[in-house]
Symmetry: C2
Subunit: 313 residues, 2 copies
């Protein structure tokens, strides 16, 4: 048994049971993968994959049991490298964050700037995706930290820490009838055509819930992934916008008026997802703390080693 064989098994599973795909992703030859996996199966005395003739079609029952252990073993190997580089050079390395558009555009710029000042030699990269893509990337270890408001707390293998809470706001053109209204009601809002987020993003679920609770069926004329698209079309008079409050900037968004909506929709919690059992570099803890000051290293470690339940404040 060797580590290469375990990586081959892991990557074959991640590649949807295709040796060819695994070979490409690992920059090696397909016969090599085939050979090593068969050697491993021979050594362990069990079939890991179900083969129909020459096609790999499924994981066997032992294969499923072994797969989770393989993941854990390789995670510890990664941890060895992480800890070693922690000692080798405290302040250099790489940190990869996955976030939704809203977070990347409105919540993270300040954090990223502060982090760059503190750790100029850390290569920080930010990838954008849907909440489920972010969860996936965090689970495979492709990114160190995932940040999103939706979905992250649905994965038992992830630790989803609450980062901050925020409310929705309503935006309208300055000359819109709602702009002068003191307190907007759901009923009033439902009378307009709405522009807001795609159902998988940025607290859209809470918006739908609020309307549904009053048997209202407002017409959503545009479901966008990012707040900038919403603002653009609100400006064009296409409808009334509902966006995350932090996405509005009085100076930048001239011509648009923001109205409070915190009494209309449940508040949202943006979460920070970490892969359970994965060692983090010190600068990663610091990034998290910059983003959410209450999440100090001891707090994160405690949540990491604690039970599998979702962590709440």
């Amino acid at each position: 048994m060797n580590l290469q064989q375990l990586r081959y098994v892991q990557e074959t599973i991640r590649s949807g049971l295709s040796l060819t795909a695994a070979a490409e992703r690992l920059h090696t030859s397909q016969p090599g993968i085939s050979r090593q996996i068969r050697d491993l199966e021979a050594e362990l005395g069990v079939q890991i994959f179900v083969r129909r003739g020459k096609r790999v079609t499924a994981l066997t029952e032992p294969g499923q049991a072994l797969a989770t252990i393989v993941d854990r073993a390789l995670q510890e190997i990664d941890n060895l490298r992480t800890v070693a580089s922690e000692f080798h050079d405290q302040d250099s390395g790489a940190l990869t964050i996955a976030a939704t558009h809203t977070q990347a555009r409105y919540a993270l710029p300040g954090v990223v700037a502060a982090f760059k000042r503190r750790y100029p030699r850390v290569r920080l990269s930010l990838v954008q995706g849907s909440p489920s893509q972010i969860a996936e990337m965090t689970m495979t270890g492709a990114v160190d930290v995932g940040i999103a408001t939706e979905a992250l707390d649905h994965y038992p293998r992830l630790l989803a820490l609450p980062g901050y809470t925020w409310h929705h706001s309503i935006i309208v053109p300055d000359d819109h009838p709602l702009a002068t209204q003191a307190k907007v009601t759901l009923e009033a809002l439902a009378g307009y055509e709405l522009i807001t987020y795609d159902p998988a993003f940025a607290g859209r679920t809470h918006i739908d819930e609020a309307f549904a609770a009053r048997q209202l069926r407002p017409e959503v004329v545009l479901a966008a992934i990012d707040s900038d698209v919403i603002k653009t079309y609100v400006e064009l008079g296409l409808g009334v916008g509902i966006i995350a409050a932090m996405a509005y900037d009085r100076a930048r968004d001239r011509g648009l008026t923001m109205l409070d909506a915190s009494h209309l929709f449940r508040s949202n919690t943006t979460r920070i997802a970490l892969l359970r059992g994965r060692r983090l570099r010190q600068f990663c803890y610091d990034f998290i703390e910059l983003f959410a000051p209450h999440l100090s290293r001891p707090m994160v470690d405690k949540a990491m080693t604690g039970s599998k339940e979702t962590y709440e404040l």
Copy 2:
């Protein structure tokens, strides 16, 4: 990085930082160990061992951090083998138990016999040792299960499950003055020369505590490791014996009278030690359940995955 290198590091640490000793234990050459460890250090970019000239003298700080991860990684590798053999052949394999003399001689024979009937193809071996040796063997993975009354709950890396509780008894020659007494007191007992267990064994701590609580200082003329030695010398008239109740057998121990002492000394709990994170074969769970029927597989698994606190009934 490869698994061999990790084993070399682990064994070098276990061998007291001696490459020579590690090489012998692993049946390989010393230069091989030296080379592989240096390769690993070069790859990780950190020194694992402190070298004074050509002597390995200590673990570096990163070395300490890495050592615990190495142990976990190798444990997962062992788990792969365990799970694989579980599927390969359900009812064959090996089970190694470490126990103290008292357990091996009086508590385990029935369990072992039942286990042999149930799993004739499992090679069952029993090694004897002191409680601390048993803990050590369980922690290194040399044995699957450790059984002892003392010490096992002092090691955070071990899970110490309560197996059964028992009391001490007093044994005297049939013609001894105590033999006809209804209820023995501590004070009466302290007047005699005593023969009992070595301080590290079989509930001796509770005996000492009971006397100390009443400011009594009985003279222990013989501290034995096993009950048979105690019985032998009690028979010879050397003193009054205090042994575990289950070590007395009316038929076998003719000439000796047993007196209840459950009111004198705190009861003892014999514990079953398991290495946290180590996968156990089904037959190992069955052995544990034969020994302590309340410890079913779900109970053991729950305690295993639960928090680090000592498990109590």
